[in-house]
């Protein structure tokens, strides 16, 4: 089967790769671009561990074909920190111990950042419903909700 050539932007960097027409964006990120921050927890869009943004919109990389990245802008967990400076969400996740195993964390951070870009002051309910597509099996979500809420407050105060 002939491969497809894709030209796209990942975390601001212009990137080209070739892929199988059946290949998902998640596989292209992980296996072709060595960006293994996005995880495959299910491959069916149920767990959110592969959350990325496509043109600013939150998507599951496992439900997107790699070829669909052509001409788009992809954002992944690797692009959240600004050099050595962690994003407020990343710092708050550490301060609140909002991760145990940490495998869902990349997807949750991408999703939470997407929430805070749309809603600077989300309620607990809004945080819970926005993150309902991101499964965490370790924490019971309590500390995650607190970390997102605290990060939102800090970002509001710094704005």
């Amino acid at each position: 089967m002939s491969m497809i050539h894709v030209r796209t932007t990942v975390n601001g960097d212009e990137i080209e790769f070739v892929c199988d027409p059946r290949e998902t964006m998640l596989d292209a990120l992980r296996d072709r671009l060595a960006l293994t921050g996005a995880k495959e927890g299910c491959g069916t869009g149920d767990c959110g561990a592969c959350s990325i943004t496509l043109n600013g919109r939150l998507v599951c990389a496992c439900l997107m074909l790699a070829a669909e990245a052509e001409g788009g802008e992809i954002g992944t967990v690797e692009g959240i920190a600004d050099g050595e400076n962690l994003h407020a969400l990343q710092r708050k996740f550490l301060e609140h111990a909002a991760l145990q195993c940490g495998v869902c964390t990349p997807g949750i951070l991408v999703a939470a950042k997407s929430l805070l870009e749309r809603n600077k002051n989300p309620s607990e309910t809004e945080i819970r419903y926005w993150l309902a597509g991101n499964l965490c099996r370790c924490t019971g979500y309590d500390k995650i909700v607190r970390a997102v809420s605290d990060a939102a407050q800090e970002l509001r105060e710094c704005a």
Binding site: D20, D27, K39, A49, R128, Y141, D142
Partner: protein
Amino acid sequence: MPLDEATHKEFKVVGTRPLRPDGVDKVTGRAMFGADMSAPGMLHAAILRSPHAHARIVGIDVSRALAASGVKAVVTRPDFAGDLKGESWNVLENVMASDRALYDGHAVAAVAATTQLAARDALKLIDVEYQPLPHVTDVDEAMRKEAPTIREGVADASVPKGMHPNVVRYHESGHGDVEKGFQEADLVLERKFRTEAAHQGYIEPHACLAQMGPDSKGELWCCTQGHFNVAKVCASLLGIDASQLRVTASEIGGGFGGKTTVFIEPVALALSRKTNRPVKIVMNRAEVFRATGPTSSSSINVKIGMTKNGRITAGEGEFRLQGGAFPGSPMEFAAMCAFAPYSLEHVRNVGWDVICNRPKQAAYRAPGSPMGAFAVESVIDELCNELGLDTIEVRLKNASREGTKASFGPKFDRIGLVETLEAAKAHPHYSASLKSGQGRGVSCGFWFNHSGETAVSLALSEDGTVSVSVGTPDIGGSRASIGLMAAEALGIDYEKVRTTIADTATLGYNDISHGSRVTYASGLATIKAASDTIDKLCSRAAEEWGIDREAVVWEEGHARPAGPNAGDFEPMSLARIASRMGRTGGPIVGHYETTPEGAGVSFATHLVDAEVDRETGATKILRYTVVQDAGKAIHPSYVEGQYQGGAAQGIGWALNEEYIYGEDGRLQNAGFLDYRIPVASDLPMIDTVIIEVPNPGHPYGVRGVGETSICPPLAAIANAVSNAAGVRLTELPMSPPRILKALDEAENG
């Protein structure tokens, strides 16, 4: 010196909440989990699985697959060791079927190819001729006379004569005379309960990268709770020497007991041996559900007698647990834990381990205990309701204390059950008012906790920093708690310590990260390794000062003369001694190896409020409070995390999660959409209360906390739902159809 004499009362860093050492890696996507590792020249493998619940494998033709483009090798059962017995044979049979497929999803062959897509495509070219056989997936049905026999000759000597060959182990425990006890009661209730199998539901599917050559020397990278065990088991299954296989534990994306055994690792090694190339296997989610170990499903009868003033006069339980097609269901743990919170004069438990056509069960967080607690704590709740008694007062009246003869035999050492009950009673949650349609549930829970083989090494750097090597994979923040204990013991800053999970070639054998043992056992060994290091540090100082070793003490990170008679010397810091160690005798490394005794059992009491929608049968958890004895919380944030996580998993098990098998014996919900674990919008905040009744078996008083937190939720939620609905729910999960059925039966007889 007995360990309890070393129990510290005052701590400097233990009990604080520093950032975890692996934190930045995990919030930036840099942390390397099982599927994140690659190797040059790597092949990808995929596994062909049985579509039948039970079938004879007449033949496997791999010729078409081998001829496909990109395919490098296929392995089937003859590619593994042929001389195994007992549990090793069971594990291999589960990893790769021999002449029979024993459950839907049972592995029958595996392909290695140049790409993952090529490997998956090639699976369709393997021709397996199956002869379907009758199957059974329900524990009660598997015990009936007419049930098909899964495998002959599996039963051990414990099974009474006349039982179905599917009953493979039998257990009895207890003391006193239950019939006499029941006669003393004012009210005796007997109820039957059922729980469905729940999966651990870790978000990271099993993944590994294997490299092995024809010289039988190998390297394995995998997500596991116990890489030393992986090395041992894989070596056995492949017929190679354990020391020739070096296993490195990746970061692990959740395990909860499910990653305590092997599934894909021996397969990747066999393919690597055959191709002489690195081979990577990553399970997909459906494979995780169909072919790894969920917990057992259970069928339980419990009978309890109580006096009008709330004294339990006798308790009796019958526990039937299926563990898939192999022996090993945790029926004895269900039986031993069920009545453990209570001091009973008369108690009797029996258990049956049953095989059927399901995947081989694996440990899931306090295996067996949640089901036992569900049954016993539900009956206690019903007795309290019938007799008009307060549920916490009754539990306090009957609570196990230090010196109580446990329902499973030994006498309890110092335990904290009463403290959890008192704290629950005093918590504002317990006295908060409820609205119509809402109900409150209470339950206690118990877990033994485990110790296990443990080896820790602690090496100093010349700049005075410390590297701690442990052999227990970090499944929930243990590197932080190990670092805290090392810093405390040495009297240095937490930031000066780095804790690493060492590979199997670097450290002595370490038992798996299971049984809530890591903070206890690796923590104990870390503190002892620090003592060994301190001894060496003091010796160096003594030599330099020209005084006896006994004249030097270690205080606040410094060697000091023991008193005025020892001499007048400036205290020497760890950093100063370390900076000169190359000239004063060489590297300073402390170590400790042990199989400690004294893990210290743990108890919890949970409070939960639930609301039941009588039209839809849906349940909402309104409020949840966990009260649990941690002995000593080394890093309280991660202790709270274990409490909250256990409660959340219990909520899923109680309300939603279940393995659903069709008439054909195939699993119908092998995905996160249909096997629904709790999502953020399903849950409330989960309040936690950490009780600290020190464990005399640990220098700092630690008790494991990981598992006890899932013991009470099933019963606590069932009691809340039953009290809200006004009808007793005895079957899990309490999904909307089950609740509607129970409401309908209550209203219409």
